[in-house]
Amino acid sequence: MAAGTNLKIYTGTDAGTEQPTGDASNWNLMAIDDYDDTGSLYADNPITVPDSGTNYSFERWMKVEFTGTFNLIENVKVWKSSGTFSDSNLALYAGTTATGTTPTNSDSTIATTSMPTSEGGAIDITPSTAIDTDGDKTDFFVVQLDVPDTVTTPGDIGTQTLTFQYDES
């Protein structure tokens, strides 16, 4: 029996509110700290282009949960495997941490690395304690969208895909 996975989204104080019950349907980045449970909430809460400086999305805090029966999950890494931005001035930043903090829409102190776009540069989110039981999760993976005043193309940022890799033995 192989492991199953659920993507989990974390919001609120200390990133302590986990949603949804099963697998998240999206990781939309918004101007509010919430999970987009309708898939259209992001359109009502866009990150606007500032007159000067940079606006930021609320950090998107995520974990991967492993379900079912398995021996051991190791080597969990994540990178952006595909997607181009609607405007070249948009930027995604990412980072990882074991400890939750309240998501911010200021310049993140955790999502500080330019989002890796290849398997070779992937961010390791394997926790220090072994993933060997149904319900075990990775460390937090934190993503933030930077919207500087140089952005000229409004609307959706374009499809972006995150790939999570993990070894199962």
Partner: protein, 128 residues
């Protein structure tokens, strides 16, 4: 999949989840396993632990190993790839990793394994 040990040759079903295959391998104390074969996306990968060689479809793969390793142990795993689109969509793929690991004369952990994807492409991976 097939395990060859000092004690017995045990045939295993061709189709087996890597996790269940590893449970079968775990039944044998690692030093007793001389070799094993895996059918990974129709590429036959044979790991010869006794001689520290790897063959793919009967042909030896150059693994650039310059010395015999100590504490040799088999390696067998499934590398999974789950992709999530920002506004939806989820896809899944996996590759099979098969090989061995051990310790060199400097005490460093050395790995040599073959990764096979669904197209049957077999790639050598090395750690040191």
């Amino acid at each position: 999949m097939e395990i060859v040990t000092k004690q017995e040759i045990k045939p295993l079903p061709d189709r087996m989840e890597i996790v269940d295959f590893n449970k079968e391998l775990y039944k044998y104390y690692f030093s007793d396993i001389l070799s094993f074969k895996v059918n990974a996306f129709n590429r036959i990968v044979e790991v010869d632990l006794k001689n520290q060689k790897i063959h793919v479809d009967g042909e030896e793969t150059p693994i650039e190993l310059t010395e015999s390793l100590k504490y040799i142990k088999w390696v067998s795993f499934k590398r999974n790839f789950i992709s999530y689109g920002v506004s939806g969509g989820k896809t899944y793929e996996y590759k099979i990793g098969v090989g061995f690991q051990g310790q060199d004369s400097k005490g460093d952990n050395i790995q040599r394994f073959i990764m096979v994807d669904k197209e049957g492409k077999a790639t050598l991976f090395k750690k040191k």
